[in-house]
Amino acid sequence: MIEAEGLTKFYGSLQAIRDVTFEVQKGEVVGFLGPNGAGKSTTIRILTCYMPPTAGAARVDGMDCFERSLDVRGKVGYLPEHVPLYNELTVRRFLRFAASAKGVEARRIEGELTRVTGVCGLEKVANRIIGHLSKGYKQRVGLAQALLNNPSVLVLDEPTIGLDPTQIIEIRRLIQELREEHTVLLSSHILPEVAQICQRVMIINKGRIIATDTPANLTRQLQKSAQIVLQVRERASELIPFLESMDGVQGVTRQQDGQDRLVVETDRSRDLRPEIARLAVEKDMDLLELKLVDLSLEDIFLQLVTEEPSQEETAS
């Protein structure tokens, strides 16, 4: 549904993205993840025909974003970052403008307005002036606008930024409901959100896509080392030298946050839990806890964005 091929964009001499290539299948919900300034918005703006790329090509539904711009724009619903809105207009009037601009026929406009205001929970504020609405409602107006004329592709740039937690939950639920009818590409720098909503995550940093996978695979793939947490009743420190001498152990750290725990970094290829358990029993200690820790997406993300450049530097 969405294809990006070697997208590169320069702002003057500043390179915002380079060689971004990806594909989003019909019906997929894909998250675009990256720190601020990574190039998320630039990529999204190219896909929504806001601006042409310096090099490369983007296609939506097989149509080139540059050559058949108007056709592509008719297929894409776009929620821009920070949701710019015409503050002088009422919600209804703005949506009416958006609907007619998107080519909804005059007789269908009222029905379409009722539908999107219903979906986005805007009935109560439909006749209020946008400038007087709260941030959460403005966000919903932006979303309602994107849903008009039922576009097959939805592109949402930071849909939950600046909202309070309840509003975030509402918007997320809304997006999850939308996944049934639309292909969704959303960007975010909030990781749990992406992990919750998306089937696939693309991580972008410094203008390049550095990883693409399902949240679960990403976790597995990027775990360079597994962590085993070990808790015994007492004398935990006595275990450290034995653990360190064990084959496959990379390091042992002692965590003393209330309970006395040992965190054992091990090679991912082998599960050392049985050996560690045996060791504890041999040493006649009461084993209280022994578990493998899955890295959360946050950790991966931190790893990715902190490690990739250094690897690159060493390579060059």
Binding site: T42, T48, Y50, L70, V76, P84, A101
Partner: protein, 256 residues
């Protein structure tokens, strides 16, 4: 021309919802009313004197003595006020970021430029229509020759169109409305006074600067002369700056 109607309606609504339109209309009608009143007043004075002097009475002419100065005067008010009508057209959209909608809705850039220009021209027509009742009084009180008056109105319409087209262009250059207004005002004033160079720059150049001068062409309209050169001048002026606006929007797109 996809999206022309929707942008036109939106622009018109925002224009009429904003206080800018009403303050511009108020000041324009107040000052042009004052000019009109004083022109009629002088005409009165003159006709009293003419009643004793048959030579003077021959020169009495409502078009020459009331309407021509009136058209010249409102062209000055227009110069001052038209940049205020156009300044927000693009500058505001760029500043607030709503330009993203214009760029990502299925609206062609050309349609957007034309719709914005048409909306602001409509507002101008509405303001100008406010002068009609006063002029209509002439028909009740006297017996003016309507054709040159109509011709004068056509001239003032085209002049206004040229100002608005230029203002649309300067608005597309910047995100700041004040800068857009100042640029538009300054450049239009320059177009106004460039004709003064006529006698200083030699005959060939002199003719050129005179043709470029924006008000010179209004003069023939107010005399009741419909000259295709003047008509062409305004039409080309309007088309040229709308075209530049269109290119400028393309450039904004590329720069992102």
């Amino acid at each position: 021309m996809k999206g022309f109607g929707s942008v036109y309606r939106k622009e018109l609504y925002i224009l009429f919802a904003s206080p800018i339109f009403y303050s511009v209309a108020f000041i324009f009608l107040l000052i042009s009313g004052y000019f009109y009143f004083s022109a009629i007043g002088y005409y009165n004075l003159y006709s009293f004197q003419a009643s004793q002097n048959p030579m003077m009475a021959k020169q009495l002419n409502l078009v020459d003595m009331v309407m021509r100065p009136f058209f010249m005067d409102i062209s000055i008010v227009l110069l001052l006020l038209s940049p205020l009508l156009t300044m927000r057209l693009y500058a505001e959209e760029r500043k607030s970021g709503t330009i993203e909608f214009l760029f990502t809705f299925p609206i062609s850039d050309r349609a957007a430029v034309l719709a914005k220009f048409s909306a602001v021209s409509t507002a101008y027509l509405v303001i100008l229509a406010g002068t009609l009742p006063g002029v209509g009084l002439l028909g009740i009180l006297g017996n003016p020759d309507w054709k040159p008056i109509l011709c004068g109105y056509l001239g003032i319409l085209l002049l206004g169109g040229a100002f608005l087209s230029f203002g649309t262009f300067t608005s597309s250059l910047t995100q700041n409305q004040i800068v857009a207004a100042v640029l538009s005002f300054g450049a239009l004033l320059m177009f106004w006074i460039i004709g003064w160079l006529k006698n200083l720059v030699g005959p060939a150049m002199g003719e050129f600067v005179e043709y470029i001068s924006i008000t010179k062409h209004l003069d023939t309209f107010t005399k009741g002369v419909l000259d295709s050169r003047d008509l062409l001048y305004y039409v080309l002026f309007i088309a040229f700056f709308l075209f530049l606006t269109f290119r400028q929007m393309g450039s904004c797109r590329w720069r992102g």
